[in-house]
């Protein structure tokens, strides 16, 4: 029951991150702003992270491998957000 709910929530999070990545892509295509490109990367990484985490629910990936991979994704996502915000003119 709880696993099913987790899967549904993960799918919602995945859908939202894909929509945000699409909006960032449209924004980048129109403006060629690097910050929009970093946002696109951040949202895509977020979607990938979610896929990886959900994949764990369905298969038997080792817990340590999952934790390390998720941590790497999180560092990359936060770095992309940091670059999107701090890039100067």
């Amino acid at each position: 029951m709880l696993e099913g709910l987790n899967l549904v929530l993960s799918l919602i999070v995945l859908a939202i991150s894909v929509v945000l990545a699409f909006i960032s892509w449209v924004a980048y295509r129109r403006s060629h702003l690097r910050s929009a490109l970093y946002l696109l990367i951040a949202f895509m990484l977020f979607a990938l992270k979610k896929v990886f985490e959900s994949f764990y629910l369905l298969t038997s990936v080792e817990r340590e491998v999952l934790d390390s991979t998720v941590a790497v994704f999180e560092i990359l996502i936060l770095s992309a957000f940091f670059l999107a915000i701090t890039r100067e003119r």
């Binding site: 909006i23 924004a27 980048y28 060629h32 702003l33 910050s35 946002l39 003119r89």
Partner: protein, 171 residues
């Protein structure tokens, strides 16, 4: 004059006319018009661009100029700037005041519009005065018809937000 010639003549006289408007003004059926536009595009006499849910039609010989114009009006703030300049030349602080934006944001957009060549500038004392450097009638026609889709509006808002944040460096 046959139908195809009438369509071509109308597009030459009214570059940037939308498909819907063209069908209305020439009183042509959708299928009929689609066929003639397909033949005209294939023969290289016209080109069309889809933007904001509308298909705009242009004569082929002025492709570069209209491409630049379409890029120029692809965000809400730039459309507002172009509309303000269509009413008369303005300096940066007047534009910022009218739009409720910071001068830095306006400066970023003006640099882009100058680069595209749709706006020109001249110095008057310490002020830089901007004016339009494109076919105003065509630009107004496109902007009037422009109806961005919801995700296009969100993308435009995102661009404005990023420019406000100061993340406006060209890729």
């Amino acid at each position: 004059m046959d139908t195809r010639e009438r369509v071509l003549e109308h597009i030459r006289k009214h570059p940037g006319v939308s498909f819907r408007k063209l069908a209305e003004e020439l009183n042509l059926g959708i299928g009929d018009l689609q066929y003639h536009l397909y033949r005209l595009e294939k023969s290289g006499e016209i080109f069309s661009r889809k933007m904001g849910g509308r298909r705009y039609l242009f004569p082929r010989d002025m492709e570069g100029e209209y491409q630049r114009m379409l890029i120029a009006i692809s965000t809400e703030t730039r459309r507002k700037i172009m509309l303000l300049l269509a009413r008369g030349e303005k300096n940066q602080s007047e534009l910022a005041e009218n739009l409720g934006l910071t001068q830095a944001t306006v400066n970023h957009h003006m640099k882009e519009l100058l680069k595209l060549g749709v706006v020109k500038s001249r110095k008057e004392g310490r002020k830089v005065i901007y004016s339009l450097n494109c076919d105003v009638d065509t630009m107004m026609r496109i902007i009037r018809e422009y109806r961005p889709k919801i995700w296009e509006r969100w993308a435009e808002q995102l661009v404005d937000m990023l420019v406000e944040l100061g993340g406006a460096e060209d890729a």
